[in-house]
Amino acid sequence: MTELRELARRLLSEGTVNAVLGWEEGPRGARPAFVTTPDGADRLIFDHRCVHNLASYLSPRRPHLKRLGKVAMVLKPCDARAVAGLIRETQVPRENVVLIGVRCGGVVTDPDSDATLSEATVADRCRGCPDREGKLADHTVGTAGPGFPGPSHRAQKIEELAAKPADQRWAFWQAELEKCVRCHACRQVCPMCFCDRCLADKTQPRWIESSPHARGNMAWHVARAMHLAGRCVDCGECERVCPQGIPLGLITRKIASVVAERYDFRPSDDPAVPAPVGTYRMDDPQEFIL
């Protein structure tokens, strides 16, 4: 932590950046912090409760953050995949952000948790995560635990669902999607949802019914899944923030696995790898096409 704070203080006092985006202790546990003065660097923390994917704040659709000027961002290895995604899709110029990597051995699910990190409390996405540090970072600080072995519960749940008859899957998703109130928290918090104006907000034509009934919700979650195909970094933020407790990660992770199997793409922190949807191979499989 001292190392992180010292680095942030130096970047701010030397004028390398105008703000450091990291985590602080809030009234309800860890939360995103925006440090703009060298003294403020002492607010920064990093521990297993720092679950948020701060890459969301780099997304260009947050005009109110532009006035901060050049920022440094503290990032976990998994967040680095999101930053790489934003760079890959030319949403963030690499030179516009200083990346402070923190070594990470996993986080819990709830930033307000008083649990220690253990096999029982670790966030599902951390199970099987191979990365202890992000290669994209300009600076890397801290030490990391050993990480946790996979597979994730979500992967198991997806397999279970996939093994069921279609009508049972339909019933499962109907019950889940019906809960959605279309607050769009899943979209707002997603680091890879970077459209300036979302399809769901467009009215001419209105492809997605804006009403939070099952049919409109279905269209929304289909659109979201399609738009995140090959983009989703499986940070689990959508599922964490859903005020209705919908297991959105099942959908995005399912699609991620389809993309991985068919097109050999796994989100990495290498921005040079092209996005799988947006490119093609002449010999892509087409067994489903008559």
């Binding site: 109110h64 006035r67 005020p243």
Partner: protein, 351 residues
């Protein structure tokens, strides 16, 4: 209404069974498939979970996330309007929290402001709210700072406070009295108000002091500091999702949309909406009077603690703390209010 009575726990179970047998819908806080507690339809009192604040509020029982206003049908150039009924079957909510019951009463002002919102009041009249005094909250609770409390009766038809082998019952409204009168065998003599005092005190102590009970100070500061850098400061972490508004028992903003189902017919609906999104105020021309998150964060605080009080002499917040619990970025209303009070009373500024 100041009648009191008593109901034993066994009779409460019986009451829920009686109501259901009589065809009355019963809802209460109960466990969902994902492990949370929501206000939802219940089949027996045993489903009710009283020791956790439900994730949703009672708002959706009166202002559903989406509801049809009417249907239309085109025939050539003509259009027929098909009405949606505003009569609702009776239902009882058992196990409401005082903050959630109060919120419904708070919203009656705006829903009846010169124009009566029939769907709202249709559901209001059909619903009897049986509130259970709150056992106490967590650090985000601040009902006592907005003139309420863990045993506040506002918005409730009956208030039940645990005492002895059951619940001490305060009959708050005529509607509450009708419920008691309809099932006389279920209510009777039991522990008096004295037996409830320690419960009430303990609950109150758990929520007091989280926010200073200075609504007038907050209101004045918000009214006088529209352009304060404080708003830009708090808006930094805001993602602009509507999670807070969806969870809030008093956020009532809505959208009205037409949804064609075929080329000739469709439904006009009203849907929950939130001032936290950019499209909320965006004009079709592209102009947006509330251009960034700073103004949107301010609007939410302003509406709750200044605009509504100025208009209806009532605070559009019941201190339930759900917005703080649900915020994915750790925005905390108690912190915001504390900072406002500190600034207003000269004990600190925008950090």
């Amino acid at each position: 209404m100041s009648t009191t009575t008593f109901i034993r726990t066994g009779d409460l179970k019986g009451l829920v069974a009686d109501l259901r047998a009589a065809g009355v819908g019963v809802a209460g806080p109960a466990r969902t498939s994902d492990g949370a507690v929501d206000y939802r339809s219940i089949t027996a009192f045993d489903d009710v979970v009283l020791d956790a604040q439900p994730r949703n509020s009672l708002k959706q029982f009166f202002l559903p996330p989406t509801e049809p206003l009417f249907k239309y049908q085109r025939k050539g150039s003509d259009v027929a309007i098909l009405e949606i009924s505003a009569t609702f079957p009776p239902r009882v909510i058992v196990g409401a929290r005082p903050c959630d019951a109060a919120a419904v009463d708070v919203l009656d002002h705006v829903m009846n402001w010169d124009y009566k919102d029939e769907p709202w009041f249709g559901r209001r009249e059909a619903t009897t709210i049986v509130t259970f005094a709150c056992p106490g909250g967590d650090r985000s609770c601040f009902c006592t700072a907005v003139g309420l409390g863990p045993d506040a009766t506002r918005g409730s038809d009956l208030l039940l406070v645990p005492a002895g082998d059951g619940y001490y019952v305060e009959v708050v409204t005529e509607k509450g009295k009708r419920l008691v009168d309809a099932y006389p065998k279920r209510f009777g003599a039991g522990a008096g108000v004295d037996a409830t005092l320690s419960y009430r005190e303990k609950a109150r102590a758990s929520v007091e002091g989280h926010v200073p009970a200075r609504p007038d100070v907050i209101r004045q500061w918000v009214q006088e500091h529209f352009e304060d850098p404080f708003w830009a400061d708090i808006s930094l972490r805001c993602h602009g999702c509507g999670g807070c508004a969806a969870a809030c028992p008093t956020c009532h903003c809505f959208d009205i949309v037409d949804e064609p189902e075929t080329l000739t017919e469709g439904t006009r609906r009203r849907n929950w909406d939130t001032c936290q999104t950019s499209v909320f105020t965006a004009h079709a021309s592209g102009h947006n009077p509330r251009a960034d998150q700073c103004g949107r964060c301010r609007q939410r605080v302003n509406h709750k603690f200044a605009i509504y009080p100025a208009r209806f002499n009532d605070i559009l917040c019941t201190g339930c703390g759900r917005c703080a619990r649900t915020c994915p970025a750790g925005q905390d209303v108690t912190e915001i209010l504390n900072r406002i009070v500190a600034m207003a009373t000269g004990q600190g500024g925008a950090a």
